[in-house]
């Protein structure tokens, strides 16, 4: 038997895997080691580092959440759930999967209303963001290039300041003796008594639109900026009015921007926690608050995990759509 070529110990001079090596592989080192020996370059290492990190700290945690969502709640345990997998004394593996937590999610009225409320808030916040953000992005993309960068900077600037503090700022504006009520009630006298705006759905909408507006404007802007003006001119030459040419030319062309911006608002808004806990109603919870309460107050880890998994399943489709658009955008940049 000939030993392998100079480059690789596993192949003979004709490039075939040598029988000796095959023999060794069967009893000796496991399969993957041969694979590593053959392909061992720095590249693999470079790929492996971020890959492993994300597998360990992003993917595996979800599997753990999935596992615990099927576990049985034991209030006094530490951690407070019964193990799902257990080795019995005879060496058998016992698997106990309970779907009680999931059944509860869809039957308990509190939960059902929280789901519906979260979806409603996220949907209308996205619509309001689009209604305000689209004209803004459009105006920026139509302004002279020197102003454009300043305007963009003004849009991004609040994003760099603390999200929590920006939400906090609205408490000062919305509360009963806050700025808005002082202006309306004391100075202008438009309203007969201070408006109750804190702890309402209105405050939540304001908070979400305010916090996520830059996420709507930026993808829209980067789309609108690329539009070819001659198309609009052509439409107008052919007799289309401003509204018609907008509806028939600009809008359809900016569709990818609308989708990307809307998803960037909708997805995090469904799971929003800070804004409803600071500004929102106390009698109507959103899903994220429910999850946190279930976890921190009731210490019911299985149920909190089930809420997380259900939320994830709900958001999987929008997240995948978003990723497709993101990839397309990157590919378009490459060309």
């Amino acid at each position: 038997m000939k030993s392998g070529s100079r480059n690789s110990p596993s192949r003979d001079s004709y490039g075939r895997v040598s029988p000796l090596w095959l023999f060794l592989m069967r009893f000796g080192p496991p399969r993957w080691s041969e694979y590593v020996v053959k392909n061992w370059t720095g590249q693999r290492l470079v790929i492996a580092v971020p890959y492993l990190w994300l597998l360990i700290f992003f993917l595996i945690p979800f599997l753990i959440v999935l596992k615990i969502s099927f576990a049985e709640f034991s209030p006094l345990g530490r951690p407070p759930y019964e193990p799902v997998f257990r080795w019995l004394e005879e060496g058998a593996l016992q698997i106990k999967l309970l779907i009680g937590s999931y059944v509860y999610l869809f039957n308990e009225p509190l939960y059902v209303s929280a789901w519906l409320y979260s979806l409603k808030v996220a949907f209308f916040s996205t619509v309001f963001c689009l209604m305000l953000g689209y004209p803004m992005a459009y105006a920026i993309s139509r302004s002279p290039p020197t102003q454009r960068n300043v305007l963009l900077l003004l849009i991004i600037l609040p994003f760099w300041t603390s999200f929590l503090l920006r939400v906090y700022a609205w408490i000062g504006l919305l509360k009963t003796d806050g700025l808005i009520n002082q202006v309306l009630f004391k100075w202008l006298g438009i309203v007969d008594e201070p408006l109750a705006m804190m702890n309402t759905s209105f405050a939540v909408y304001i908070g979400i639109v305010y916090s996520y507006l830059p996420f709507m404007i930026l993808p829209l802007y980067s789309n609108l900026e690329k539009h070819d003006n001659t198309l609009l001119e052509a439409a107008q030459d052919l007799g289309a009015g401003p509204i018609k040419s907008f509806l028939r030319v600009t809008m359809p062309l900016s569709f990818p921007g609308i989708v990307a911006g809307s998803l960037l608002v909708f997805i995090p808004a469904v799971g929003e926690y800070v804004i409803p806990s600071l500004l929102g109603r106390t009698d109507q919870l959103m899903v994220a608050k429910l999850l946190a309460d279930e976890f921190f107050l009731n210490r019911d880890w299985p149920r909190a995990s089930a809420v997380a998994i259900a939320m994830l399943l709900l958001l999987v489709v929008p997240i995948m759509v978003f990723q497709r658009f993101q990839n397309k955008e990157l590919q378009a940049q490459k060309k």
Partner: protein
């Protein structure tokens, strides 16, 4: 066209007012003497007494220090991992599991924070159990767990920034260096890194800001006794407005505004210099 322009211009200014009035009002009332924050106490204002109170507030100061440490470590770790991921995704061509890696890097961008936080905590709890069972070693949740969690969700942002910067260049420079006999590692540090340096810097700043600002994930993964600044702020403003928080917000807004203006100024100067050099090269 005309009316459309007027409408969108108006909306732009309305939107900008909407973005800035809350911040400005927060800054304004930080100089108010009244404890009620939004009721202007004309005879005794403006005053800086809340700023003096802020700098004597040990809870806030120690939380801020912890937040700075976490954010700096997070940003550095996220830049290393995010740059590697961005490089792999845009330069290594198709390899097995590439689409999966792309999915793993963009998913944290849109993942609701409560889910990330819960899953990270459950991972740490499981690891704790494993470590105690196997090595008899107990670790506490705190600085390390917060930093790991932050790196995981901020590296996605760095990856996107680096990837889109790399997509703007073709790899001819790197190829040339390889042809001239440079080893891949050398090519990376001498060619690729200088090219994407702006992306790396803005990725670092982005990761720092996101970590500095994060409340939800931190609340899940932090242990007793390790309170970051957002946690302290949250627990205070839950009870209502507090003038000390206004003072703190003012300082933070000031730092960010200065930083952004400065970086815009530097970028513009660099751009001008580049243009001048290009012109000189063109005229010969």
């Amino acid at each position: 066209m005309k009316t459309e322009g007027v409408f969108s211009k108006t909306m732009l200014w309305v939107g900008l007012a909407f973005l800035y009035i809350p911040i400005l009002s927060m800054v304004f009332f930080s100089f108010n003497n009244s404890r009620l924050v939004t009721v202007w106490d004309a005879p005794n204002s403006p005053t800086v007494k809340w700023y003096i109170k802020l700098f004597g507030d040990h809870q806030i100061l120690s939380a801020a220090w912890l937040s700075i440490q976490v954010a700096a470590c997070t940003a550095t770790g996220a830049v290393v991992l995010g740059t590697l991921a961005g490089l792999v995704l845009s330069r290594f061509g198709p390899f097995r599991g590439r689409a999966f890696l792309q999915g793993l890097t963009t998913a944290p961008l849109v993942m609701p924070e409560v889910i990330t936080g819960l899953s990270m905590l459950l991972l740490f709890v499981s690891l704790e159990q494993l470590f105690t069972a196997w090595f008899g070693w107990q670790f506490d949740r705190g600085f390390a767990t917060i930093t790991i969690a932050h790196i995981t969700f901020t590296m996605a942002y760095v990856t996107v920034v680096v990837q889109s910067r790399l997509a703007g260049f073709d790899d001819s420079l790197e190829e040339a260096a390889l042809d001239l006999g440079a080893r891949p590692a050398k090519v990376f540090f001498r060619i690729t890194v200088p090219l994407i340096l702006p992306a790396i810097l803005s990725g670092w700043l982005l990761a720092f800001t996101l970590s500095w600002d994060d409340l939800v994930v931190t609340q899940f993964v932090s242990g007793p006794g390790s309170n970051t600044l957002p946690m302290v702020i949250f627990s205070r403003v839950r009870l209502g407005v507090s003038p000390v928080v206004n003072a703190l917000a003012t300082i933070m807004v000031l730092i960010v505004a200065l930083g952004v203006v400065l970086s815009a100024f530097l970028m513009r100067r660099q751009e001008q210099r580049r243009k001048r050099e290009e012109q000189m090269a063109a005229t010969g």
